[in-house]
């Protein structure tokens, strides 16, 4: 059983959902983010939030995958002040919806004053609602941006155990862990982290407070980032217990602090959910071995479409 605690499924296809379920992913978290192109109306942002608490959750359920999300204003769009002000008004309405496990992903992109302003405002919201926080660390000037994110979080009095610092790399991980945060790693080709590097990091740091995710989105990325990393780690001699922590247990522990994510959600779903919102994935309980195959490719390979 795996959890992918960072996956932008709104940009992905049903083939991806099928492949993820077949590979043993039982739950995933969809952080609110930017969709590749900035939104220019508050209303489109509101409808986006509504999609990730509703439609996408339903879509995942059809494949036997439990869908959770985080609610927030991302750093890129925080730079449009008119949009940002409007979105901030709506966030409290969404933050308590079913399956919302954190405020996020928030943080810095170019480290502008507006990014700083809305990052801080959302840290306050998370504190008020007792919700965990998912922090996006910047691609550029990463090390400094990551340290600064943690400085600001501490300045606002949040407990590091309630915060996941995501998109870590070899340069940022030591400080993130040393300061008491959960350290997320996004197995994302070319830009963020590769899984061979990830395995090396697991050898060095073990599994405490480390979380592996795919961050799959509209770019060239891999929704099987978590199960593939798990498999590679096991093959490389990383203890099973460590793999289970970083690919399942730690994400559940960190985001479960919201009270909105429980193992029973997928192992023993409530009757009413089973009837309406969640198609039981027999792979979970049938004892079948997870398969990391390219089900999408298999489908494309067939000629007949009925």
């Amino acid at each position: 059983m795996y959890i992918d605690p960072h996956a932008h499924m709104i940009s992905r296809t049903t083939d991806d959902y099928e492949a993820m379920a077949a590979a043993g992913i039982v739950a995933l978290i969809e952080p609110a983010f930017w969709t590749g192109q900035p939104r220019t109306f508050v209303g489109t942002y509101v409808d986006y939030l509504s999609s990730i608490v509703g439609w996408e959750r339903f879509r995942a359920g059809q494949f036997g995958i439990r869908h959770y999300c985080t609610i927030g204003l991302n750093s890129k769009e925080a730079n449009n002040e008119e949009l940002a002000e409007g979105v901030m008004d709506w966030l409290p309405r969404f933050a308590l919806k079913e399956g919302v496990v954190a405020i996020g992903e928030i943080g810095y992109d170019e480290q502008t004053p507006l990014e700083d302003k809305y990052f801080r405002a959302q840290l306050e919201l998370a504190k008020e609602l007792h919700l965990p926080v998912m922090v996006h660390t910047p691609h550029r000037d990463k090390k400094r941006g990551t340290s600064r994110s943690m400085d600001v979080i501490e300045e606002h009095g949040l407990d590091p155990s309630m915060v996941v610092i995501d998109h870590n790399n070899e340069e940022t991980v030591a400080e993130t862990l040393q300061r008491g945060y959960w350290a997320g790693f996004s197995i994302y080709p070319s830009t963020k982290m590769g899984n061979r590097r990830m395995v090396e990091l697991l050898k060095q740091y073990g599994g405490e407070r480390i979380i592996v995710d795919s961050a799959c989105d509209w770019g060239i990325s891999d929704p099987l980032g978590v199960p593939k990393t798990a498999q590679l780690a096991l093959q490389s001699g990383i203890p099973e217990e460590t793999v289970r922590k970083v690919c399942y247990g730690n994400a559940l522990a960190a985001y479960g602090q919201s009270g909105q994510m429980h193992e029973s959600d997928w192992l023993d779903p409530p009757q009413i959910d089973q009837r309406t919102l969640f198609n039981d994935n027999s792979i979970l309980r049938g004892g079948r071995e997870p398969v990391i195959g390219d089900t999408a490719g298999t489908r494309r390979g067939g000629l007949i479409i009925e």
Binding site: V46, D47, L49, S50, V53, G54, W55, R57, F58, W90, R93, F94, L96, K97, E98, G99, G259, P270, Q271, I272, D273, R275, T276, L277
Partner: protein, 284 residues
């Protein structure tokens, strides 16, 4: 006779356990016109504090619901959903009900949206809710569509013929059962029968099966040769389809329909009371 909100109140409070006091307190505040924010918070906390268990209503509760609002069925409701609808019912808001409903609907999560639509038969000013109901019917979320279409008397009581017919057609498209639709026989009409027959032709042309339930809305309007020949075809295919076609023929006013049924095993079953629209799939 108790009102719908009194019935719902009893149902919720008897299941609220140690949270009953909290629920009563909020309901009282809402009744006195508490701000909408309080309503939003209650709607968010309801599943957290009350849980999401099925209501599993008693026979007496089912009777009370039916008496308060004919056609209102609470079998499939959950406790948090019932509490949410109750809160909305008792809230003395400052804005028109439809405005408040719209606001809640467009920011709702799935379970919340299902609850909001299940409550339709109970809300004030039903004629102001048509736009909102249309949004729910157009939803791609099957359980949201079914919250309106199934076990809910609102469509029977308030839909015009066009909307009614398209709800039935959509139910077939998305694989929803027709039997739980309230008023299915009362609201049958010749236009719907025409649409459904054409739909059956499309399915046959594509080599797909035709849901036997479809014939239920065709039977009473199957009078001309073309309609009867469609039923004859379904009858010849055997199985549940034939059972549906037989029931439809039995409901047809045309004398030829009797002839088509003559000597069929299905006709005997109907006469013996062993075949009806709720027992289509049972083996003969």
């Amino acid at each position: 006779m108790p009102t719908a909100d009194a019935v719902l109140r009893d149902i919720v409070l008897t299941r609220a356990g140690s949270e009953a006091g909290w629920v009563e307190e909020i309901l009282e505040a809402l009744r006195r016109g508490a701000p909408e924010r309080d309503l939003h918070i209650f709607l968010g906390l309801a599943p957290r504090r009350l849980g999401k268990a099925d209501l599993v209503p008693t026979a007496a509760e089912l009777e009370a619901a039916e008496a308060a609002r004919p056609g209102w069925r609470i079998d499939g409701w959950s406790l948090d959903g019932a509490a949410r609808v109750l809160a909305l019912l008792v809230h003395a808001g400052q804005r028109p009900f439809a405005d408040r409903f719209k606001d809640l609907r467009r920011t709702s999560d799935v379970a919340e949206m299902i609850a909001l639509y299940r409550g339709l038969p109970l809300y004030p000013e039903p004629e102001t809710l048509h736009f909102e109901v249309g949004e729910g019917l157009r939803s791609n979320l099957k359980p949201v569509f079914e919250a309106i279409a199934h076990d809910n008397p609102f469509p029977r009581d308030h839909f015009d013929e066009h909307r009614w017919n398209h709800m039935i057609l959509k139910a077939l498209f998305v694989g929803s059962r027709l039997a739980p639709i309230i008023g299915l026989d009362e609201r049958a009409n010749s236009e719907l029968a025409r649409i459904l027959r054409e739909y059956a032709h499309e399915r046959w042309a594509a080599g797909r099966t035709v849901t036997p339930e479809l014939w239920r809305c065709v039977g009473p309007y199957a009078q001309d040769e073309a309609a009867l020949s469609d039923l004859e075809r379904a009858l010849s295919e055997g199985g549940a389809g034939a059972r549906g076609a037989a029931l439809a023929l039995a409901a047809s006013p045309a004398p030829e329909a009797r002839q088509l049924l003559e000597g069929r095993a299905e006709a005997e079953e109907i006469a013996a009371g062993r075949l009806d629209w709720n027992r289509l799939e049972e083996a003969a």
